[in-house]
Symmetry: C2
């Protein structure tokens, strides 16, 4: 399906059920997900979804991931309040990555920081870019 | 190392060699990489790096990925000209994802589109968001 859509023009549509059935989940049944703040463009985190998490996200409009450490659905913000209201769900060219445009409440990171990407790395050193807030986020 | 840095304040630095040695590459020796256009914030693609690709990227300032299909280093734009000049390399909280801030020449996608994330998916349908350009990008 995704190969066929490569040459399709804007506005071409297919049924979501068919698209979900065509998704190339990896050998663990997962797909990588990038969460981006919808209005500022800040990349907040990278996480994973299985098919159930993606379906729940599409149905509820709240981001639901798969926690690889807890091996369970991870309803973002369930324990911390740092939830993500989903504005748009996108798939990449070959259907093996998801981009979630979200409205992030408080910090996306389990450290409480706004974004998980708070280390800058260059040739010689890695530098921490932001202070840890006092309040921590939820368990991944 | 990344656990210790969680509570570190902005400006804390460690050697890049030590950080690279601490990266939790997956069982295939890979780490997920999000490429974002540095000035507009557009998320362009999701790809993968092994340690050699990350080191080459840090050294040359040009994005180099690992092609899972070709099982070889993938110097972005080598065949298409659609290269990525790297402005900044970030790592997430637990070191298992990279965010590349890049200046993308032409389209990031192998279809020639600017971004790979050109499908929007909602409850009922998946919609193609942009037309395919005439000229195609490089082979992933």
């Amino acid at each position: 399906m995704f190969k066929n859509l490569e040459s399709s023009t804007a506005g071409t549509a297919v049924a979501t059920d068919a698209a979900l059935a065509a998704l190339p989940f990896d050998r663990d049944g997962l797909i990588a997900v990038v969460a981006q703040q919808f209005d500022t463009g800040e990349v907040l985190m990278l996480a994973w979804m299985n098919r159930a998490a993606l379906e729940e996200t599409l149905t509820t409009g709240r981001a639901c991931y798969w926690s690889r450490s807890r091996k369970a659905l991870w309803r973002k913000g369930e324990t911390s309040g740092c939830s993500q209201t989903v504005k748009e769900v996108r798939l990449d060219c070959d259907g093996d990555a998801v981009l979630l445009l979200v409205d992030q409440r408080d910090g996306a990171c389990h450290t409480g920081r706004r974004s998980c990407f708070y280390h800058r790395i260059d040739k010689n050193q890695l530098v921490v870019l932001s202070d840890p807030p006092l309040r921590h986020g939820d368990t991944r």
